[in-house]
């Protein structure tokens, strides 16, 4: 790669990293796993003055528990998320979705926090974070603050992190009760971005849906939580009811038209895939 010239710092603690970011000023960029930033540099589409590399900050890596919450370090690699037993137990939707991210090489470099902070609506994990009511922990010169996922994703590639803040961890409430999950990813080749993705977590009681949480990938400029469909799904007890409830999933959305798909096709896919994801998660597949 032949990027433009930049300075490079590799702090070893989060405090140092925040300080380095502050010092480097507005045109600095945080380097996490580099799976989005490096291609941008290679194509000379960005000209940061400084890269603050977080890969040597151990406190940003790993998965732990905090009572009813799972805490995942922002620099935890996708491959580690997929393999982690705590994630598999308490946030299986995240394990399943992360396993579909790009290809093994990317999953061994790319990080959970990096993917969320990049906020590409075609990325798989933002919709999952949204569906799971995750909270994002940001560290800045003013200290630490916690941002609910629904307030985090502002627009295409835009989050509520301020330029001097670093995403430190992601807190995901553990699923308690009879939950089923499913990530339906639709793409043309395995390593490609999702044309549409649907993350679904569904709690059933007595054979009917008691609670549904859905996150949509690539159906707008941010990940989308279709609240009306979630509400309509409550009480559904067979596949037909699920399909009926999901028919409205694209209403009010403006999915992109691009080389991957036209908007009307994306809307159609969202309906089909949401029904499939929910039915699968609810055990109503056939």
């Amino acid at each position: 790669m032949i990027p433009p010239e930049f300075d490079y710092v590799a702090p070893t603690t989060l405090a140092e990293a925040v300080a380095a970011l502050g010092e480097a000023g507005e045109d600095a960029k945080i380097l996490a796993g580099g799976q989005s930033l490096i291609p941008v540099l290679r194509l000379r589409l960005a000209f940061p003055t400084t890269l603050v590399d977080l890969s040597r900050v151990p406190e940003l890596r790993g998965v732990s528990e905090d009572a009813d919450t799972l805490v995942i370090g922002a620099m935890t690699k996708h491959s580690d998320v997929v393999e982690d037993p705590l994630v598999q137990q308490h946030a299986p939707l995240l394990s399943e979705a992360t396993a579909t991210v790009a290809d093994p090489a990317v999953r061994h470099r790319g990080t959970f926090g990096g993917a969320l902070a990049h906020a590409d609506p075609a990325g798989d994990l933002a919709a999952v974070a949204l569906a799971l009511d995750a909270e994002l922990v940001a560290e800045g010169p003013g200290g630490r603050r916690t941002i609910p996922a629904r307030d985090f994703f502002l627009d295409y590639l835009e989050t509520s992190l301020s330029p001097d803040e670093i995403l430190a961890a992601v807190r995901i409430p553990k699923l308690r009760g009879s939950w089923g999950v499913r990530y339906e990813k639709f793409n043309r080749v395995a390593q490609a971005w999702a044309i549409v993705g649907v993350a679904a977590a569904v709690r059933t009681e007595g054979g009917a849906i008691a609670e549904a949480r859905i996150g949509l990938t690539n159906m707008g400029s941010t990940p989308v939580r279709p609240a009306a469909v979630e509400a309509a799904l409550v009480g559904a007890s067979d596949r037909a009811a699920v399909v009926a409830a999901c028919a409205a999933v694209a209403e009010g959305l403006t999915p992109p038209s691009d080389l991957g798909a036209q908007a009307d096709y994306r809307a159609h896919l969202a309906r089909v895939l949401t029904a499939r994801a929910v039915a699968h998660a609810a055990g109503m597949s056939s």
Partner: protein, 846 residues
């Protein structure tokens, strides 16, 4: 060793290493599944890619490329770039006009009046595609060179882009080359070797059934793992140059560089070091090769240029891009009457080495394996403001095979016939070979029945057809489609006289030299240049089998015009059927010479010598024998040779094939289509290929697998898309979808073996067969699944969205009845899906 031999000190030394001369040849080398000799270094990173080459004082060149599809160059100012640290030189096209040659070569003027525009390595007056070179920078490192590009100021005056071939041919269309007065490059008219098509169909009267279709061969981006690169090292005082290039054709390149730049051929050495795939895209003479050469000459210092993948997609030739109007006629009982083909072929902005020849090569393949009395082919080459097209794996034959195999299915549907049964009715039976085709070729051998029977059995055709009926019956959301491709192709390019008759600028021979070293080892020198094919392994097997020496004792010398000075290089599945045969013939001459010497040493008559498994023995007295290695040593010593005999076994052969080779096979594909999403999943892929005698089944299998992947890629995944302004919107691997292992099915491969009769090894080419065969098999399967929904064609790639739209009936209205011009019934469609247009006009939002 025998006591007649006295090889002195060398013999003594060899005697201390007893295996050196006595390793016996075990036999069975031809057809053996050897692991490839070249792979150990490839998988351990000990390769010598062009970009790995570093030389003292090496400078790095970068090319500033046009961001516009079509514009007049008002001015180019490189002065700011020259001010930057590390920058040695920067040149505009005008700066290099006197040294870079008048025009880059096109070696294939397909018609006498072909329009051949000037194509300089850097544009001087106008840029004509996004990626056209405008200036170069030479700097101490790649970073400085890349930075300096941004400092060059170019003023453009925008001209209209010419993107659509049909629009380009309309009167008053903006011109790609205004001095030529037309966007039409050529009109190639080939009436075939049979009866007149229109008369034949008219003659059949009411019994004629005519089906026509318009198929689109989308533009494809060849994606070798290794992009292009070049290094030039000058010896300034001698005005001599060594060029290392990622090329398939170092020999052709040397000739063309000499002709283009005026640097004498004998002062140029061209080396193709390890080359990481080409697929036809490195079968060319590129601007950057000439630029690196003339800049290195100007500066007297070594220069390197390496392209990025994005640059590769803009500046390396593209493949396919044809519109095919095809019409097939048969009598109502299904007997073919003839075929009419009208092609539009997109040349892009300029003619590269064989740009116009690629679609014309297809002229000979449309009739494929079928007997028919009449055939007419025309092809119109069209200039557009896009990257030039040129050869891409199959070059002309995949396009033809796609069209004929697709329309055979459509004819079967029209006649209400089983598509395989209709093929059987019309194909050449194995007793009929050699068979003179309506397109003028003579197929030497083949057995389509055997390959098809075997494939159908492996596929379980009956079982799948049953399941298909059941799924249709119960309106299963997942529908099953079954596709057939019974293909042949012409490869082993090519008999020189045929190339001459097609106005190609060179011959189609290949050269080989076989050198017996004093210790009995063998160096085989080939003019075929490997870039992934496994030449080291296959040639070792041919030489080992022929000379009777161990496989391990053979080494290949190739890819360097100094050490393998004569060659026509590697493309068109020619390495084995031309280059391999040349090697085989050269070994025959070695054996002839060795036999004379052996007879002399054994004091026997040559007629009394037998030769087998590397040993000469006297008939009737088997203890009197010499191995070929012993003869080699004796020849080296030269103490006791027949009178007047030169002390050398080394032999050359330049082989000019008498015919093409015609591999064939039957490919069967079953797809599951999710009718709710339009997603196509290949669930079974069976192919039985007949590539004649096999030298190495592992290499054959690898070629088939890779070929299938590329053919399936065209059917389902890959498409180069330009927007209305002439920008390549699929300019990276994010948007240009190359399938990888997880996207491809298990390949169930089988073989039949019908030896070629036109060469002594009985071999046929295999490098392109999988690509040629697989695309129509997949699309026929997709259309088969959708036919109950009223769908009778789909554009490639058959994306989920296109399939879904076809199922919604929102595809562009397809005519159900075309005009009837010959009597009889006729159906046609003008193809082209609505989705493709709207997709192309709507660039990526990302």
């Amino acid at each position: 060793m025998t006591d007649q031999m006295d090889a002195g000190i060398v013999a003594q030394q060899i005697a201390e290493h007893p295996d050196a001369l006595s390793k016996p040849y075990a036999g069975g080398e031809l057809g053996r599944g050897r692991r490839r000799k070249e792979d150990a270094k490839l998988v351990t990173g000990q390769t010598n890619w062009t970009d790995n080459i570093s030389l003292p004082g090496l400078l790095h060149m970068t090319v500033l490329r046009s961001p516009m599809a079509h514009a007049k160059i008002v001015s180019v100012d490189v002065s700011a770039a020259l001010e930057l640290p590390g920058v040695i030189a920067a040149y505009s096209g005008a700066d290099l006009a006197d040294v870079m040659g008048a025009s880059m070569p096109c070696a294939w003027p397909v018609t006498p009046d072909m329009v051949s525009p000037v194509h300089t390595p850097l544009a001087t007056d106008e840029v004509r595609y996004v990626g056209d070179g405008v200036a170069v920078v030479v700097a101490r490192d790649r970073y400085a060179a890349a930075d300096a590009l941004e400092a060059i100021a170019v003023e453009y005056e925008q001209l209209p882009a010419v993107v659509d071939m049909e629009e380009a041919l309309k009167p008053g269309a903006p011109l790609v080359h205004s001095d030529k007065g037309t966007n039409q490059c050529f009109l190639f008219d080939f009436p075939g070797a049979g009866a007149d098509y229109a008369e034949t169909v008219r003659g059949a009267g009411d019994d004629a059934v005519v089906v026509r279709r318009r198929f689109r061969q989308q533009r494809l981006l060849p994606t070798p793992m290794e992009p292009r690169g070049v290094v030039v090292a000058p010896i300034a005082a001698a005005d001599e140059f060594t060029m290392w290039s990622t090329t398939q054709i170092p020999h052709v390149l040397r000739v063309m560089l000499a002709l283009t730049t005026g640097i004498p051929e004998h002062k140029l050495r061209v080396v193709a070091p390890d080359v990481g795939g080409g697929f036809g895209a490195k079968l060319n003479v590129y601007a950057e090769e000439i630029l690196a050469l003339v800049v290195a000459r100007k500066l007297g210092r070594p220069v390197k240029w390496t392209e990025s993948r994005s640059e590769n997609y803009q500046a390396t030739t593209h493949g396919r891009d044809q519109i095919q109007d095809i019409e097939i006629a048969a009598t109502k009982d299904g007997t073919l009457l003839g075929l009419k083909v009208e092609l539009l072929a997109d040349m892009g902005a300029y003619l590269q080495l064989i740009t116009p020849g690629v679609p014309v090569l297809g002229a000979f393949m449309f009739p494929a394996i079928y007997k028919m009395p009449s055939y007419h082919f025309t092809c119109t080459g069209v200039f557009t403001t896009k990257t030039p097209t040129d050869a891409y794996r199959g070059a002309g034959r995949p396009e033809a095979t796609y069209a004929i195999e697709r329309i055979m299915d459509e004819l079967a549907a029209e006649l209400g016939r089983d598509p395989m049964e209709l093929r059987r009715q019309n194909w050449i039976t194995h007793e009929e070979f050699p068979y003179e085709m309506v397109a003028g070729l003579t197929y030497d051998s083949g057995n389509y029945e055997a390959a098809t029977d075997k494939a159908e059995q492996m596929f379980d055709m009956a079982g799948l057809r049953r399941e298909q009926a059941e799924r249709r019956e119960r309106k299963d959301p997942v529908q099953l489609g079954i596709g057939i491709s019974t293909f042949t192709e012409m490869c082993g390019l090519a008999p020189s006289r045929v190339l001459g008759s097609l106005s190609y600028g060179a011959g189609g021979w290949e050269s080989a030299s076989v050198r017996m070293l004093p210790t009995g080892k063998v160096e085989v020198v080939s003019g075929a240049t490997p870039h992934g094919q496994g030449h080291h392994t296959a040639w070792s097997q041919i030489v080992a089998d022929s000379l009777g020496v161990p496989f391990e004792d053979v080494e290949l010398v190739a890819g360097d015009t100094r050490s393998s000075p004569k060659g026509m290089d590697t493309y068109g599945s020619r390495s084995l059927v031309v280059g391999g045969v040349a090697i085989h013939k050269a070994t025959g001459k070695v054996i002839e010479k060795a036999k004379r010497i052996a007879a002399h040493l054994l004091e026997a008559s040559e007629d009394d010598l037998d030769f087998g498994k590397g040993t000469f023995s006297v008939k009737g007295s088997p203890e009197a024998k010499l191995t070929i290695q012993e003869v080699a040593l004796a020849t080296f010593a030269a103490h006791n040779l027949p009178d007047g005999m030169e002390p050398s076994l080394d032999s050359d052969y330049v082989y000019d094939p008498e015919n093409f080779s015609y591999p064939h096979g039957t490919h069967l594909c079953a797809v599951d289509i999710d009718t709710e999403t339009g997603f196509t999943k290949i669930r079974r892929y069976v192919c039985v290929d007949d590539v004649g005698k096999i030298v190495n089944p592992v290499i054959v299998e690898g070629q088939i697998h890779g070929g299938l992947a590329q053919g399936i890629a065209q059917a389902l995944y890959e498409e180069a898309v330009y927007d209305a302004e002439g920008n390549l919107t699929t300019g990276s691997l994010v948007d240009y979808l190359v399938p990888a292992a997880p996207d491809l099915p298990h390949f169930d491969t089988g073989r039949t073996e019908t030896p070629a009769t036109s060469n002594p090894l009985g071999v046929k080419g295999v490098g392109e067969a999988g690509t040629i065969a697989s695309t129509p098999a997949v699309i026929n399967a997709v259309v088969d699944a959708l036919r109950p929904y009223g769908v009778d064609d789909i554009d490639m790639p058959a994306t989920p969205e296109r399939v879904w739209r076809a199922l919604q009936g929102s595809d562009e209205e397809r005519a159900t009845a075309g005009t009837v011009s010959y009597g009889g019934s006729s159906t046609g469609s003008t193809g082209g899906s609505a989705s493709s247009d709207s997709l192309e006009n709507d660039g990526s939002a990302r």
